[in-house]
């Protein structure tokens, strides 16, 4: 056998004849996704496989070794993210003429899925940053694009997305942060809650009320850190997503130039909704990566842990459990990728499909990670083992970017308006 594979001395006899026990002697936990039936590279083009490979390698080398430390010390890994940006991950679906990589939604999903195996929290932040960069790229005018996108794509500057308020979460259109026009400035008053990256980021894409009630009165403004009147609340203590700081963003007579408005007055809500379609695919993709890593961790644990005289992999119940986890993982992956395709092709069912994908995938993947933790037994509960971090990190995916309840509202509305 090859010298560099000296660590793998045993050969697993007959992977598919589960009756015999696995004679693994040493197994490096490979989150690079090499396991036939759940291989995430199945069905991809050669180019997509290349993107995926870079993302997997980056995740395994630059993120996974630090994932626990970033979580426990609540560190915002600026250097690692800037390295990712150098590879083109700062503006994956942003136009190349302002520094983006110009890839499709499906390419993006594949990349975030792979990166997520290295650290869900950091990848989720990168996806939020990407969404902000895309919004400025798509809805901004030339000056705005030139001013903000290059720095965002290179992660010279970081971005945050501000929609949610203490009084408006699911009912986003009822937001009350006001932006009153005074000469050539809007004066902002109000506060935003649960802002990812808040306080540590440089560029804030803020949805605020310039007009009357309801969605048509909302506009989108870009606010830079350091603007007088912009301040931040305390850093929230969270169950997961600890590698990104979460703070309230507070506006007190904060004057923002009218030239910072993206699109026309009243277009803000529409911009927000369009951004969220992609955001939902991205968050679902992050859940996929965590679930994939967890399935591999569970499988590897089952091949090593012995009870009642044999390895757990001989227990039919656990074999069936693993099979169910794998099946749900592949089904989830197919749904996300289909939603990504629908979005990039502008299909009429794109919004519903993105909502279905977000709903189904975040729920299923949390269940998969949770079961993987269960399979680890007591060890699964220890912070020395990665599986608990995947569980904690993806729990919030069922809540943000539109709760899974709101996803049901969107899907139901789509079904019922037809009849």
């Amino acid at each position: 056998m090859a010298a560099t594979r000296a660590l793998v001395r045993g050969v697993r006899l007959g992977t598919y004849s589960i009756g015999r026990s696995c004679s693994l002697i040493f197994n490096r936990v490979q989150r690079r996704g090499i396991s036939a039936c759940i291989d995430p590279s199945i069905g991809l083009t050669d180019e997509q496989k290349e993107f995926q490979k870079v993302a997997f390698d980056f995740a395994a080398n630059e993120m996974a070794p630090h994932m626990a430390e970033w979580d426990q010390k609540e560190m915002f890994p600026v250097e690692a993210m800037r390295k990712a940006a150098q590879l083109g991950f700062g503006g994956i679906y942003v136009n190349p003429d302002v520094g983006g990589s110009g890839l499709s939604r499906l390419d993006t999903s594949i990349i975030f899925e792979a990166l997520s195996t290295g650290c869900v929290s950091t990848t989720a932040y990168i996806s939020i940053h990407n969404m902000c960069a895309w919004m400025i790229d798509t809805f901004g005018n030339e000056e705005q694009r030139e001013k903000y996108c290059p720095d965002l794509c290179s992660m010279q500057k970081f971005a945050s997305y501000c929609l949610t308020e203490p009084g408006s979460g699911s009912d986003a259109a009822s937001l009350i942060t006001s932006a009153k026009l005074q000469g050539d400035h809007y004066v902002l008053n109000g506060s935003k809650a649960f802002i990812s990256g808040g306080g540590d980021t440089d560029v804030y894409v803020v949805m605020c009320r310039t007009g009357g009630k309801g969605p048509k009165g909302i506009s989108c403004l870009v606010v830079e850190k350091g603007t007088p009147g912009l301040s931040f609340g305390k850093k929230e203590k969270k169950v997961g997503w600890n590698s990104q700081p979460t703070r309230a963003v507070i506006f007190e007579d904060c004057a923002v130039p009218v030239t910072n408005r993206l699109g026309a007055e009243g277009e803000g809500f529409s911009i927000a909704m369009k951004g969220l379609n992609g955001g939902r695919i991205n968050i679902a993709s992050c859940s996929l990566g965590a679930a994939h890593a967890s399935v591999l961790l569970a499988r590897d644990h089952m091949c090593v842990r012995k009870q009642f005289g044999e390895t757990l992999s001989n227990s039919q119940f656990l074999q069936f459990k693993l099979a169910e986890m794998a099946t749900k993982l592949v089904a989830s992956r197919l749904l996300v990728r289909q939603a990504a395709l629908a979005l990039q092709e502008g299909r009429p069912d794109a919004v519903s499909l993105c909502s279905m994908a977000k709903l189904f995938v975040t729920d299923e993947c949390f269940s998969i990670c949770n079961q993987a933790l269960q399979i680890h037994g007591g060890y699964g509960y220890l912070k020395d083992y990665a599986v608990q971090q995947y569980v904690r990190d993806i729990r919030v995916h069922q809540i943000l970017e539109g709760t899974n309840e709101v996803m049901r509202m969107i899907i139901a509305r789509s079904l019922l308006t037809e009849s």
């Binding site: 090859a2 010298a3 045993g10 004679s23 002697i25 180019e47 290349e50 490979k53 083109g88 990589s101």
Partner: protein
């Protein structure tokens, strides 16, 4: 410098995959198994790209021998910074039997055809561990060789190579054209960037057959049997040093 570098890249089973021997013991299972570029070949490509960035080399040509799938490996080299690729088509039984002797004949022929000034290869492939192709290629071309390179510099038209040898490090100076084989510590290969992966799509890969190069790829070797390594046996505990010596003598070890 207008130097042209030829870099050989081999498509091998990914290092993280668990190898399984085929039931008929003629080889290992390769169907449906994840493959990627040999890690030492990645290091070779990276070194070539660094030479190009230092403007010591003008063009990097990535070469691979095998069936259609090796084009993936060439594309990875292109995404890392190689300028163009050459796919030497070898398939079926010829590919199963392809070894260092045949590949070095192909590399030698290509080096002459492309007028290469430098050939950089990985020191060995992780599937066969032969560690022969670089050396054979140099011999066929009658070029100097700097194998197991952990450092490569151009000094006054000569190549200074620091080689990793059993006793430590050996520094040699060799004239170009030459063959260099990359060892682990030569560099750390870069990640391909997303823009480079997309640019790689537009770079050309030429198709060539061994016969076009005047190379006969028939093998002089026949693989008789492939087996797994023996299962590790439990050890035996002994009480005293005398017992240990007795046991070792029994086992014929001393």
């Amino acid at each position: 410098m207008s130097a042209r570098v030829l870099v050989g890249v081999k498509r091998v089973i990914d290092y993280a995959v668990k190898i399984r021997v085929r039931p008929d013991h003629t080889g290992v299972v390769t169907d449906g198994v994840k493959h990627s570029m040999n890690p030492f070949c990645e290091i070779a490509v990276e070194e070539a790209v660094r030479l190009k960035e230092k403007k010591l080399v003008k063009e990097i040509v990535a070469v691979s021998c095998g069936p259609q799938q090796v084009q993936e490996t060439i594309r990875t080299a292109l995404a890392m910074g190689a300028d163009r690729g050459i796919h030497v088509e070898v398939s079926g039984k010829d590919y199963d039997a392809l070894g260092p002797l045949q590949v070095s004949k192909i590399m030698a022929a290509l080096a002459k055809k492309e007028e290469a000034d430098l050939i950089i290869l990985g020191k060995q492939a992780i599937d066969d561990d032969c560690n022969q192709t670089g050396q054979m290629t140099a011999a066929l071309l009658d070029w100097p060789q700097g194998t197991f390179a952990s450092e490569l510099t151009l000094e006054g038209g000569m190549l200074k190579v620091v080689r990793e040898i059993d006793g430590g490090l050996e520094t040699i100076k060799i004239k170009m054209p030459a063959v260099v084989t990359a060892d682990l510590r030569l560099n750390t290969p870069r990640y391909a960037t997303l823009p480079n992966i997309m640019k790689a799509k537009k770079k050309k890969i030429a198709n060539v057959k061994p016969a076009d190069l005047g190379v006969d790829v028939t093998s002089r070797l026949e693989v008789l049997k492939v087996d797994e390594p023996p299962q590790r046996q439990a050890g035996v505990k002994v009480e005293t040093v005398e017992d240990l010596v007795v046991k070792l003598k029994e086992a014929g070890r001393i």
